[in-house]
């Protein structure tokens, strides 16, 4: 290979492929697509009760409302009344029993969006109320679970804790989080000839939408095509939930023979669709003089809502990440998957991992307070070793451990020790305001824990003018997957990016694609697209060898050119010659993640191909009288392997951090006693704004850190891991609160740490100080 002339955009900080479309309004989202003739607009009527038997549904006033064309309930579904991802427990329309406030009961089709939405308010539904379980703790007491309780154990934690020099126990409530993608859930279904249904869906998982739509309308996968060019954000909220929206649209299109679009307004979206699981966490821990954990026992109870959805794998990941970056030799992790009469919780960036990490970090903090040590020293003392103390509770060896390297660097660049002391000096002198600091690590396992999902396909066409259409099973939700995969293909074919057209995820082009999730989008689709491009390139090379009578080694692809012996051809010229010689210029590519295996029954094996690492230091200040707080400075060192696109990856790190910061500080989901979610719009549910950004925000990617595994160009997944860097902000707040008792007591700080939660914890600290 002629290295000097080879041009590569892999590793370049290129803008998002749609950046110009975004800033000019030209990028089309599902609701922006040209509307088909006679389009019907839909709205869903929802349950007003958390748990009740439907005695009677009277939709006569709905049917007679202006503009209404059709109304449908469960009875009108020709196929399966279910969109459940893993179990058949998610009805599209509730028929007999409603199980949460906001559950769809019927749908209306009208000539305008307004008419459809207004008409839903005219329904009369009589309910017979049934007892409702609204939170995880009540569910545990009543043995109400969506899935069996699971246990992951190694050694004998109970004995180890009993024998430990020091013992502590604690419990904490950790709130959920709404995805709050800016584009709400939406689907448009167009009935075509011979039972074909074309669906435009804002979805991370077109393949699942295709299957569920086919089941609902009583056709087969071959009859349904699902397409998604882009989403206005997903964050996990568009992994399983879009199937519900698309099924309703397709059912109505099937019933009326007219195209039908369902776009949820913000309130309906937040009330009707699932969120991050909130948890009730308890732990017992035994440790030595240095804070090294000798035994630990976790009890997790998560609120799954009314159905299983993805709660199984979400809670599994909580168990897998309850170690975070720490070696837990004797460990017992129990996970309850609670059934409640609230919306079914679902995937959200981190997928249960953040909650597991939160738990162990909470314990780390408590150990440090108990021993009067800097929490960083306790954390360090427990890190996984490089060649020893490196086996996870589920039996995977941690072979790519860079956490020591990251934390060494961060401790230095963030000036951690000096600031730690300065903050203590400040707090001693300042009664009304307190500062806090914390450094927390992240180790996050990359791969779907369901091994079969770790596969991907791509389809690459080369046209006779040398331009390329690129398609793969991955979806674009803003994370920059499309530009990354395009960079890979451009590199492979040695052509400029503007010769490659990036096309919508489409179930008719790449079949059976997994959800774009688990941070694995570019790992999987990058490899699949590379494989497809390589196939075509191989054919071109073989053709050129024959046509020009040269050896393979005499053919070099450079930027938009191919050197064949002493001749130079443009890429387009070679392609055209190949076409004339009847060489196939289209190829599929396929990839499956190697090395992974995992036995769900025993929770053992190697579920993860590799780990992504990072660490963050946050500093905060709190007002002791009000609990108000501000993030002052954040330093991050994060491991992206050899980044495919540092601009995209930086965006994931910063954006993930701030999203996690919102989860842990201001985003509070609040249900009333009747089980109604009262924070269902941005007026009441507060995600961070630009003034919440720390005034001093320093982000660094770990330098020269190739992925040990042969991932696409040795990069690492970056979608989810940075979210958990925000734990540092929460524990900095906890540090600030601890200062109120002169660090004598580990504060009972709940998440989200709203001003109210902080003041509550401060008040308890004051009581301790007064003792």
């Amino acid at each position: 290979m002629d290295a000097e002339t080879r041009v590569s955009t892999v590793g370049e900080a290129l803008p998002h492929d749609s950046a110009e479309g975004h800033v000019s309004g030209a990028a089309l989202y599902t609701d922006d697509l040209p509307e088909p003739r006679n389009l019907l607009h839909l709205a869903a009527g929802m349950s007003a009760r958390a748990h009740a038997r439907i005695k009677r549904i009277d939709l006569s006033a709905v049917t007679e409302a202006p503009g209404v064309v059709a109304v449908m309930t469960a009875a009108d579904i020709p196929g399966a009344n279910n969109y459940g991802a893993m179990a058949e427990d998610d009805p599209i329309f509730a028929s007999d029993i409603v199980q949460y406030v906001g559950q769809p009961v019927f749908a209306v089709a009208a000539e305008s969006v307004d008419q459809a939405r207004r008409a839903t308010t005219l329904a009369r539904i009589d309910y017979e109320e049934l007892p409702a379980i609204l939170d995880a703790e009540s569910a545990v007491k009543k043995n109400s679970f969506v899935l069996p309780t699971e246990k992951l154990a190694r050694g004998n934690a109970a004995d180890a804790i009993a024998a430990a020099k020091h013992r502590l126990s604690g419990q904490v409530a950790l709130g959920g989080q709404d995805q709050f993608y800016l584009e709400g859930q939406i689907a448009m279904a167009i009935p075509l000839e011979a039972d074909e249904m074309q669906v435009y869906s804002s979805t991370q998982y077109p393949g699942e939408v295709q299957q569920k739509v086919a089941h609902a309308i009583g056709t087969k996968a071959k009859d349904v095509v699902v397409e998604c060019r882009r989403m206005g954000g997903g964050f996990g909220g568009k992994e399983t939930q879009p199937a519900l929206i698309a099924c309703i649209a397709a059912l109505m299109a099937h019933r009326t023979g007219r195209a039908a679009k369902l776009r949820l307004d913000r309130d309906t979206d937040m009330i009707m669709t699932g969120k991050r699981h909130d948890y009730s966490i308890a732990y017992n821990v035994g440790f030595d003089e240095q804070g090294v954990i000798t035994g630990i026992d976790f009890d997790f109870a998560s609120r799954c809502g009314m159905s299983a959805d993805l709660s199984g794998p979400v809670n599994d990941r909580t168990m897998f990440h309850a170690d975070n970056a720490y070696f837990l030799e004797q460990v017992n992790i129990v996970s309850h998957r609670c059934k409640t009469h609230t919306v079914s919780n679902t995937a959200f960036r981190g997928f249960g991992g953040p909650q597991g990490m939160f738990a162990i970090e909470y314990a780390m903090d408590d150990i440090a307070r108990h021993l009067e040590k800097d929490p960083l020293d306790v954390r360090r003392a427990n890190f996984y070793g490089i060649d020893e103390r490196n086996e996870t509770p589920y039996g995977q060896l941690v072979k790519d451990n860079v956490i020591h390297q990251i934390v060494d660097r961060l401790e230095d660049t963030a000036d951690y020790r000096q600031r730690y002391q300065a903050i203590r000096d400040f707090n001693a002198k300042t009664p009304l305001q307190k500062r806090g600091i914390a450094l927390t690590p992240v180790k996050f396992g990359i791969s779907f824990t369901a091994t079969h999902l770790n596969q991907a396909g791509a389809l690459v066409h080369v046209y006779t003018d040398g331009t390329v259409r690129l398609n793969h099973g991955g979806t674009e939700m803003g994370q920059g997957l499309y530009i990354k995969v395009a960079q890979v293909v451009a590199d492979e074919l040695q052509i400029d990016l503007d010769r490659i057209k990036l096309t919508a995820a489409d179930t008719s082009k790449v079949p059976n694609a997994s959800a774009t999730a688990a941070s694995a989008g570019s790992d999987l689709n990058g490899k699949a697209a590379q494989a497809a491009a390589r196939k075509i390139k191989k054919r071109l090379t073989r053709f050129a060898c024959e046509h020009f009578s040269v050896a393979k080694g005499d053919i070099v692809y450079t930027r938009n050119q191919v050197r064949i012996g002493k001749q130079h051809l443009s890429f387009a010229e070679l392609v055209h010659l190949a076409y004339m010689a009847r060489v196939s210029l289209s190829a599929t590519g396929f990839y499956k993640t190697p090395k992974i295996h995992y036995d769900r029954a025993t929770f053992s094996g190697r579920p993860f191909f590799y780990y992504a690492y990072g660490a963050a230091v946050s500093e905060v200040i709190i007002d002791v009288l009000t609990g108000e707080h501000r993030l002052l400075r954040v330093d991050i060192v994060h491991d992206c392997g050899r980044s495919l696109n540092p601009a995209v990856d930086l965006g994931q790190i910063e954006g993930g951090f701030i999203q996690g910061y919102g989860w842990l500080t201001s985003e509070e989901l609040w249900w009333n006693e009747s089980g109604e979610l009262m924070t269902h719009a941005p007026s009441t549910y507060k995600i961070p704004t630009c003034s919440d950004l720390p005034p001093d925000f320093r982000v660094e990617m770990l330098q020269s850190a190739d992925n040990r595994e042969k991932t696409i160009h040795r990069s690492k997944a970056v979608g989810e891991p940075p979210l958990m860097l925000s734990l540092s902000a929460f524990f900095a707040l906890r540090d600030a609160v601890a200062s109120v008792s002169n660090y004598r007591r580990s504060p009972d700080l709940q998440a989200p740490a709203t001003p109210e939660a902080v003041l509550q914890a401060v008040t308890a600290q004051k009581a301790e100080r007064a003792k």
Partner: protein, 487 residues
């Protein structure tokens, strides 16, 4: 209805003159753009003015009719007829004719300011409004300018960078002169009266016409910025059959200073009132900045905030503490009423049938009066208060000569704390008496628990804020707001 009404509204969509007849007064600018004009660049994110995805820029002639004033507003809650006489600019209008991007757009591309891109058009328009109005904004000005726009992907850092960098790119040729001429040519004299789908909309241009219309149509809804009324339509699906828009009445837009008072017309927007209020009362700065993001402040009026009667409006505690007087009008008659007597019960005011709020009289600063205001909410920007408080004390040595304490969020109406005030009036201004006074707040208020806060927190923080005010007035170097660090 006045004799001569105009049943057409005229405005510019960028440089295209639009004339609309039979406009449904409940139709929003966003619906018109997306559904009638297929201009889908502008997005709906929440339909309540809280996310900024739908932000557009409205340019209006200033009072002299010579210059343009560009302001971002939320098109999702702006009713279409309110565009009369204005220029509407959307994200599709910023590119130059040759296809090159506007500096705002180019900077967003260069700085990687978009990820999913759905919030981007709204950000671009808020940035464009800033670009047209402020030359080299500070970081605080940038934060404030973008406070009404939510982004869920980027974490904002690259958007802030883009907002700083956009000034470094070549400025496109100004088209303002042509726009000024085009706006002047729009025929927008007299009262607008449009009707469609059985719904009527009036936009009188004088106070006289307004008062006649209000008296003749006492059931009509008065519309100012629409930042609450808009939501009745977009979120509650109400149909407002009769609307009287006050935004075209020149007399309600005035800001004047008398010897004793600052007088604000009821339709003065927060954006216009803020600099004046800030100059007189710098203590209001943080509260005013936190009132809402610019797309709301640019539309919302002080009069609307007061007359709306919500228990959680942020302007009332401060204005009550300052002893603000309202001027109410019914026909030709006016009367004055102290703001703290205006609220009778939950969402019930002292306004009689056919009466409306005309002006707000705020006393000029008194050097002897010490004032502090506080807002408690989950988020710094654009959040509704759990508790809002204002304290104004006049000390005679260390004795309280007079004190006015007002709270929002702890009762059904914005209200003074009479028992607490009584404990303090005439007492020594010491930590001990203040602590005793905080106990009296329990007799003054019985706050509720809801999604913003529990009753316990509301009470505890109400007490602590009084204490905080005490420290602010007595400590030589009281701590600044935690929110001000790094700003």
């Amino acid at each position: 209805m006045p004799e001569t009404v105009r049943n057409t509204i005229s405005f510019l969509l960028d440089d295209e003159e639009i004339q609309l007849h039979d406009v449904d007064p409940n139709r929003t600018v966003l619906q018109w753009l997306r559904e009638d004009r297929q201009r889908t660049g502008t997005k709906e994110g929440c339909a309540e003015g809280d996310c900024g995805a739908c932000a557009v820029v409205i340019a209006e002639l200033d009072a002299d009719g010579k210059n343009l004033r560009h302001r971002a507003v939320n098109s999702c809650i702006q009713f279409l007829p309110t565009l009369d006489g204005k220029q509407l600019i959307t994200v599709e209008n910023l590119q130059n004719k040759d296809g090159t991007l506007h500096p705002v757009q180019q900077a967003m591309v260069d700085e990687h300011g978009s990820q999913c891109g759905f919030c981007t058009p709204g950000f671009v328009m808020s940035m464009y409004a800033l670009f047209e109005t402020v030359d080299k904004p500070t970081r605080v000005e940038i934060d404030d300018a973008l406070a009404g726009n939510l982004c869920r992907c980027t974490g904002y850092r690259p958007i802030i960078s883009a907002t700083q960098k956009m000034y470094e790119l070549p400025k496109p040729a100004s088209r303002h002169t042509a726009t000024v001429a085009a706006l002047r040519k729009l025929r927008i004299e007299g009262t607008v009266g449009v009707e469609a789908n059985g719904r009527r909309y009036y936009a009188p241009s004088t106070l006289k016409e307004l008062s006649e219309l209000v008296q003749k149509n006492p059931a009509a809804h008065l519309l100012a910025g629409g930042t609450d009324v808009g939501l009745w339509v977009t979120k509650q699906h109400q149909e407002l059959d009769s609307i009287i828009y006050v935004g075209a009445v020149a007399e309600l837009q005035t800001v004047t200073k008398t010897k004793s008072h600052l007088e604000l017309g009821a339709a003065v927007t927060f954006t216009d009132a803020m600099p004046v209020l800030n100059t007189l009362y710098p203590q209001l700065d943080e509260l005013l900045r936190r009132f809402a993001g610019p797309p709301i402040r640019n539309a919302a009026t002080i009069g609307g905030n007061i007359a709306n009667g919500s228990p959680i409006g942020d302007s009332m505690p401060a204005l009550i503490a300052l002893d603000t007087i309202l001027v109410l009008r019914r026909g030709d008659a006016t009367r004055e009423l102290a703001l703290d007597e205006f609220y009778l019960a939950y969402q019930q005011t002292a306004l009689a049938e056919g009466e409306f709020l005309e002006r707000i009289r705020i006393p000029l600063p008194d050097p002897a009066l010490q004032l502090c205001t506080y807002k408690i909410s989950k988020r710094f920007d654009q959040d509704i208060s759990a508790v809002c408080a204002a304290f104004a004390v006049r000390l005679d040595g260390d004795t309280v000569a007079g004190i006015r304490i007002a709270y929002g969020g702890v009762a059904a109406i914005p209200s003074r704390a009479p028992k607490c005030e009584r404990v303090l009036t005439g007492a020594k201004w010491t930590e001990k008496t203040v602590l005793a006074a905080t106990q009296a707040l329990e007799q003054d208020f019985s706050p509720i628990s809801d999604m913003r806060a529990t009753d316990e927190y509301r009470m505890q923080v109400s007490k602590n804020l009084l204490l905080k005010f005490f420290y602010a007035t007595t400590q030589s170097d009281p701590p600044v707001s935690v929110y001000s660090y790094g700003r």
